[in-house]
């Protein structure tokens, strides 16, 4: 019985299927809002599902001379990481004092899986543009991970030194969300920008810059493999704002969380649509010098309890 429940939680709710369906819906919101900003009409609501279905039923091609195993492993890594991440997030929010031990360190590693998948897939596909994309993805990952980790450290300090997810949420329920303080706001800004980069949305869509290197690491993918990449991206669009809400904005075990989620997503889309793309060296400098300093100030403020 227990095993059935565990499998259910990973595959149906809140794991893979639920997250994918909601995430695909959120990508429709993304496309629709983008279209409205461009003064266009935009796609109908079922568009992401139609795209996904079509990709599932198309031919999957494996480029000549590429490493077949790695090429197909790439998309799967990110998908598995995101499914486990979904289960942990939901478990921790709805049952924060439960025995399920989920700590931030595991989450940091799970969040590293999609970029690793993209790097592996891109380098395995034997296409010059894909390898340029993969190397840019790697650089970008190192760029945004440093401030992201510093911001998480300041959250850990605010939670009284606990790295357990449940305790972070319990601490916020006891003394109000961490967001309502100076260091909380700084951490929120830093994590928000890292989310933008993790989703590789403009201004940080350097790895897949459409106008320079076409689709970057995805260029050789077709059919099911491409569908899995798209779905991982959609799941991230759903899970990363939820992660921000749960570490800084008091968890999402209430109805307000839906509004908060939509607010964060619309903010992400607005940033995406009103900015130009940075070069990879500019992005690195932006994250290490600018945002890195900001997050360090946040860490010091958190240390003095501000």
């Amino acid at each position: 019985m227990n095993i059935v429940r565990i499998i259910f939680s990973y595959i149906i709710f809140p794991g893979f299927v639920f997250t994918a369906v909601v995430g695909l819906f959120l990508t429709w919101i993304d496309r629709k809002v983008t279209a409205r900003i461009h003064w266009r009409v935009g796609p109908p609501w079922f568009q992401p599902y139609a795209d996904f279905l079509k990709l599932l039923l198309k031919e999957t091609m494996i480029p000549e001379g590429s490493s077949k195993t790695l090429f197909l492993l790439g998309p799967l890594l990110g998908l598995v990481g995101m499914s486990i991440f979904a289960v942990m997030l939901f478990n921790m929010n709805f049952n924060p004092s439960g025995s399920f031990v989920g700590d931030l360190i595991v989450i940091i590693y799970l969040l590293a899986l999609p970029p690793i998948g993209i790097i592996i897939g891109g380098s395995a596909s034997k296409n010059p543009l894909a390898s340029v994309g993969a190397s840019r993805e790697m650089t970008l990952y190192f760029a945004y991970e440093l401030p992201f980790l510093i911001a998480l450290t300041s959250i850990i300090l605010k939670a009284g030194g606990s790295i357990k997810f449940g305790e972070i949420i319990l601490a916020q329920q006891a003394e109000g969300p961490f967001l309502y303080s100076i260091s909380g706001v700084i951490a929120a800004v830093v994590i928000f920008l890292s989310i933008q980069a993790k989703l590789s949305f403009i201004p940080f869509d350097i790895p897949e810059a459409e106008q320079e290197i076409m689709a970057g690491p995805y260029i050789e993918y077709s059919g099911v493999a491409l569908a899995i990449y798209k779905m991982t991206r959609a799941m991230m669009l759903f899970l990363l704002p939820l992660f921000l809400i749960s570490v800084l904005w008091g968890g999402f075990a209430n109805w307000w969380a839906i509004l908060k989620l939509l607010l964060i997503i619309v903010l992400i889309i607005l940033v995406k649509n009103t900015n130009p793309r940075l070069r990879i060296d500019q992005a690195l400098k932006f994250f290490w010098v600018g945002i890195g300093t900001l997050s360090t100030i946040g860490l010091i403020l958190a240390f003095y309890g501000l």
Partner: protein, 138 residues
């Protein structure tokens, strides 16, 4: 299963723009399609950058000895099923260039073409009408 496949293909045809030596006027008209005025994303049509992701190839221009092998290669790289849409008088027939030594004939001599959209260049409305008619007939 077949119905689902067809529905998905009809509702989200991603197009790859294959310019094989056109005069570029057809290309400009194609780019009009994705701009706000005609906005073909309403029908789920998206312009993408890699033939691997494509469901339809928009071919423009007169095919000649140099471009023929490249065009065929892109056609082979596109995962099937895929539509080939010939846009402009140049792609439907070699237009005024027929007597040239370098022209190797219209597209349908070398690969199956599903839709012909004549005009020099065709209006965006014409292209939308052609694509929608072709999708309806599928």
């Amino acid at each position: 299963m077949g119905n689902a496949k067809l529905w998905g293909l009809k509702k989200s045809p991603w197009v790859f723009h294959l310019a094989a030596a056109p005069c570029n006027n057809c290309d400009i008209e194609i780019l009009d399609l994705i701009a706000p005025r005609w906005d073909v994303e309403r029908f789920g049509i998206v312009l993408i950058g890699s033939p691997r992701h494509a469901d339809a190839l928009l071919v423009t221009g007169v095919i000649n000895r140099k471009t023929l092998p490249r065009v065929l290669r892109v056609y082979e790289q596109t995962p099937k099923p895929c539509l080939v849409i010939a846009i402009g008088a140049c792609a439907c027939s070699p237009n005024i260039f027929t007597p040239s030594y370098n022209v190797v004939g219209p597209y349908d001599k070398h690969m199956p073409v599903d839709v012909y959209i004549p005009g020099c260049p065709p209006k965006p409305e014409t292209m939308i009408m052609g694509i929608i008619k072709a999708l309806k007939r599928l």
